[in-house]
Subunit: 203 residues, 2 copies
């Protein structure tokens, strides 16, 4: 047998095994309903991943809701895009600026509660296929929102609705609740090497 | 002092500290150029994060290139969206089906090389603000593409161009090269609880 055909044979054996394992995992999943996803950790990519899922849903013309907690007054690229190009997306921003800029706890709480009302409405409306609650975790860790109230709305949402929650931390209730949890670990970050945040990539 | 004003004062102190630290990090970054990002690990969200950055770039009307290695013959939501709604995006898929389905090493290598040629062209064209090389890591770990050739093209790209590489693994050369590396750790995944992949969220 030539070296090449040996390689091909060994490759085929490995790939057969991988295919069996992938097929088995897929076959064993048989519950069809909306999923809940938590994207947490200190690494880059949580909000952009949520917006990638927005694009995914838009590919099938599904209705999408996006509520952003904390985010600043300046729109970033994906926010401009969603606002200008995506009428299927209901988009709401707390828009009070970063909480570490305002330094006003009671004002922030009022804004958080007002923003939560928008989210809660989406979470009870089955016409939304996907709801993104960007940076919601901070509202819980700062105790701006009542955790029991938030968890009840997340858990009580329509069967067919998927939800993505992003933000560092998040606590055990969110991790317990979510079907899928990815932790984004910062292995390294450009700004630690003195490289500025890049328009159209970082914001 | 009332309980509330104590809370407000302590909150303000904490937020001042946080603001100082955020401001200092931003101020110390003064190099402006395209960034390189590696999204790796076994958790959900790598490709969707890359597509979120595509949306971010589109918000500023930047030109974007997306090359997908490995991906199957069936388009997923974000791919349908990009193909149908985003003329600013040059989109290319290897399109040979999953390598564990084809089980044909030499055919896969040919397809990988053909696909790489498309990527290499983008990496030498300064009109692309952002280039996404989705699942490129597997081409290196399967040794379908020569690592030195790939790294030379990634490193030699135009100064203003940003690149996002996704996929599990990736090896030390990619980690060394990238300005920002996020590792997506799977804390839990819906399919392990028997929940099917969801259209418009998972694909």
């Amino acid at each position: 047998m030539t070296e090449d055909s040996k390689k091909q044979q060994s490759h085929q054996r490995k790939m057969e095994k991988l295919k069996d394992s992938v097929d088995a995992t897929i076959a064993s999943a048989d519950v069809e309903r909306g999923v809940s996803i938590l994207l947490t950790g200190n690494g880059k990519g949580k909000s952009s991943s949520a917006f990638g899922m927005v694009m995914r849903a838009l590919g099938y013309d599904f209705r999408v809701g996006v509520v952003q907690f904390i985010k600043g007054e300046q729109l970033s690229g994906e926010e401009i895009y969603v606002r200008d190009k995506c009428p299927e997306v209901t988009f709401y921003q707390m828009g009070t600026g970063f909480t570490w800029d305002t330094q006003d706890r009671s004002g922030d709480i009022e804004a958080a509660v007002r923003t939560w009302e928008v989210a809660a409405k989406m979470l009870s409306d089955p016409s939304y296929h996907l709801v993104v609650l960007d940076e919601l975790t901070y509202m819980l860790s700062f105790k701006y929102l009542d955790q029991a109230m938030v968890m009840a709305a997340l858990s009580g949402r329509p069967d067919n609705q998927s939800v993505v929650v992003t933000g560092r931390g998040g606590g055990s209730a969110l991790i317990e609740w979510a079907d899928t949890v990815s932790e984004l670990k910062e292995v390294k970050h450009a700004y630690n090497a003195g490289i500025m945040a890049r328009r159209g990539v970082d914001f």
